[in-house]
Amino acid sequence: MIRLLACGALATVQDRGRLGALRWGVGVAGAMDAPALAGGNLLVGNPDDAAGIEIQVLPLEARFESEAVFAVTGADCTAVLDGVPVLPWTVARARAGATLRLDRPAAFRPWGARTYLCVAGGIDVPVVLGSRATQLRGAIGGLEGRSLQAGDALPLGRPAGDPPPPGTGLVPPVLALPLAVGGVPALRVLPAAEHDRYTTDSLAAFWGEPWRVTPQSDRYGFRLAGSTLVPLAPMELRSHGIVPGVIQVPHGGQPIIQMCDAQPSGGYPKIGTVIEADLWRLAQAPIGARIRFVETDWDGALAARDAIDGWLEAARRDLSCLRPRSAA
């Protein structure tokens, strides 16, 4: 079990998401930065469907009530275990009673916006509709369907096996698979149904100009600020299913990218969809950051997916060579 001694707003238990419950109006939720959670689970020897803690606001302080192997992935932060610094994206071992403090770094400008704490065995909250992910709307999954707070006790599952030795780390995807246009972090986008119903100037701005992440950006969606996108004619669509990554343009003309806690359906026009393989990049874009959209096609989107899968499989393979085995 781990006990939260201090916890900022919007920390939640997340796994890779709740798939297959759209028919009841239940969205996927899950980790905003899926590769960070997947990498963390690999590092601590967890199965792919294990849950970790997604942290948005630091500091967070947690006490390990029993000995545990853990890793801190996603956005970089200062991690200190009983006074000893812990490397990012690296296996560490905590003795029973040890306290881990994650804080905003004073010494360096951190990369990213969301940090993940993964613990061997996973955060063992009940599985609801096939997942442990917290879905705030409807209060489903996670710890009582809500954000975490100081004093919470989080049960840990049984570790699956021998994790790699402490000090073993991964090269994070932001370094292994960088993507930027003119120095601005980029997201690849597949045009969606209403793409061609915007003015030439609007499309030129959409593809050619940077967009700023506004403070009204969270797990539900990222509201962007930039040029006003103007449709050729007003559109009123029938409600239809949508998925994380869909870029809606409400009547005001400022795009909203739907994210993990987004409604699984909507009716605003869709200019494009950020491909699944790049959603983690957006998840790590802090408020105020600028982003760019880059057009891709089906094959390009699949290649991007293969690249992120390839990163994960290389990590899995390399880590398996390090894992101590009693038989060997």
Binding site: G25, R238, T296, D299
Partner: protein
Amino acid sequence: MNGLNPNPRHTWAGPLHGAVSDRPAIAGPDAAAKRPHDGISLLGTTALLFEAPGETGLEVQRRIWSLAREAETWPEVREAVPGVNNLLVTWREPPRRLAPLADRLAAAWEAAPPLALEGRTVELPVVYGGEGGPHMADVVAHTGLSPEEIAEIHAAPLYPVYALGSHPGYCYLGGMDPRIATPRRKVPVLRIPGGAVSIGGSQTGVSASPGPSGWNTIGSTEMSFFDAARTPPALLQPGDSLRFRIAGVVR
């Protein structure tokens, strides 16, 4: 970053994307120059959206239910989720080639017979206007009708549940009188309460839990639409019906 060269995979293969009507529907060379399917478009690599042509209506929706049942039997399909006269298809793994799936979907739509689902009818008392209906004034301004007239028109029909979506347990209803249709809000509201009765375009619905919405809230009711511990977790299914009863109109 860190000396690594940013290498955007930027393919300029042309606008090979989903479309509404008059262009190739599916991205990728395997679809180009082949028979396009009107109304099929992409939602990234996660899903495909099929829009039924023509006017919105219950007969079309019955064919959508039929198409959903069919598509859910295909091994690569994870879910086929009806919307309002449309269908979202998610898959377990994105197919390498989209055209075969799109072809099959288009063919299945042509063959889909209307599926008449006989469900239950649930009645909901609604207080229109006042604190629970903060956007009633906007609907009044748009329609030129009084709050009493709007309540009466809104409570008159028996609404069939077309689809579930938006948030856990939420129902999209068919059959709203077009006289009270009001466009979605220019800027979505960050939080409306559970039980909010609202109008978005030509549709109406009741929120099942607090959350953001782009619709105009005209009244409020109380009902538990969703319980994850229940099987199935949602109170209503496509094919059920909902009736609103005027519990009061607050000016």
